[in-house]
Amino acid sequence: MQRQLSNVEAHSKIQRKSVWRRTMMQMRRNWQLYALFAPVLLYFIVFHYVPMYGVQIAFKDFMANKGIMDSPWVGFKHFERFFDSFYFWRIIKNTMGIGLYELAVGFPIPIILALMINEARSGRFRRFVQTVTYAPHFLSTVVVVGMIMMFLSPVSGLVNLIITSFGGEPIAFMTEPSWFKSIYVWSGVWQGMGWSSIIYLAALAGIDPQLHEAAKVDGAGWLRRIWHINLPGIAPTMTILLILNIGSVLGVGFEKIFLMQNSLNMEASDVIATNVYRSGILGAQYSFSAAVGLFNSIVNFIMLITVNRIARKVSENSLW
């Protein structure tokens, strides 16, 4: 290792001058590429890095007339207020609860679906199943939540009509906090399982059919072949998606929860993102909600890095 390094160093010393010259020449020759890339870079700086810099208002008392730069520093005041607030544990519990529930259900189901579609012999049947299960992915969040509400309405909803026709009492699904997480997660499965299975189907299609033939000759049954050939075949894909999923456990999306939320199910539906929206955008407490949002981003980032490191240790696959 040492020798390699010094080797490289010596090598680069001799070559540095010519490498530098070649780089400059290349850059001059490719100036059009840089011109093409400039607006993209500008966009990322202005709309992604400037807000990251602006997140300093979480440590300040933001005053509109003074602007972000000149507002006074207050240290961790807003964080302390958030950690001590009455809602803190409720929000954390809900965010974690929904995130983990979603992970436990939403991660394995697309894999199982892909394995089943892969086993179906008839091509036409396969295509039909795929076309149908992919379709809900293209519905907007507003429409999906609207449909949930129509189907679960205690007065006219189809689900409650079925319950009452069997002699049961109608259930007010949307206003009952105990139902919230299940409705959120399972409607997500309904909408997303087909689309999420595509990536696994692609991985399955890449498995050498000769492996299956060989296993058949050796007398391996159907389940054994799935277990020993198909699952290892898609393991790299599974690892990557698991890392991404775990990394976003606390990043429970705003769009759908916000639409499903009402004052009666708040106890189960209030999460970090909706809390930031309420106190920040609606309540104009910019510094406080920026602190809450920053807390969320940091926890997410740490989780992603941790999971990625674990994945790199125990398997050969990781994001980076």
Binding site: F47, M52, R121, Y134, S165, S297
Partner: protein, 293 residues
Amino acid sequence: MPQSRSERIAGVFIYIILSFITLLVLYPLFFVLIASISAPETVMRGEVWLWPKELSFVGYERLFANSELMRGFLNTLLYTTTGTALNVLMTIAAAYPLSRADFNGRGIFTAIIVFTMFFSGGMIPNYLLVKELGMLDTIWAMIIPSAVSVWNIIIMRTFFQSSIPKEMQEAAFIDGASNMRVLWRIVLPLSGPILAVMVLFYAVGHWNSYFSALIYLSDRANYPLQLFLREILVQGQMQEMVDISDDSLARSLMDAEAIKYAAVIVTNLPMLLLYPFLQKYFVKGVMIGAIKG
């Protein structure tokens, strides 16, 4: 090769489960369709199951009589077309240089872009920035903050790297073509499928999004369709459409339900009609993205 008994049983079992799942996904969509063209009373009484009852288009009539909704539709059309055009241009501008091995600094540039996928300043600093730039309540707030998606840049870059022959580009350079000319004359004409994928991904995203409109727009004249849909479907606000004065309350409640079903159908009709034909492009996009995440 002859199948064993257990294998045949497993095969049948899989067909049954998959059929059940397909039904579970399809039925809610089908129900909304037949409920939207049935008389509202029959839907309320639970008589509509497999076929529309007492054909009625009252939901559609009320929906199309609403001028605000038409406005929302036009706004969405505007945001979708301009937004998608900007998105695709920016994606090409980012992906082509990054796909070139002789683009010095591409490692750093890639890192700068990809990092934003995992860490962000959050909702509030973004909001303050848009406000500071004076874009609140303008079309710019709807298209510029989401000018390009990192994920799509990666997909496109992967496509450029893996599907456009390097030799062709090099030959053109030897013939004295400039970078822009190569991009325009060689790379883009060979990228038809991926461009279609990008247009579709972005357009669907714009058509369905409500979040940026919710936080950046306050003037109803600028609202996209999805925000009006939210009022109809989620908040149940449709006094304008349901004429309470000359009808009984029960009557207007039923019409309100009919409007909801009709609204879902109308806003998703373009997508539902096009989708079966476009499916293979969408799937292709996901697959290219899967090659290297």
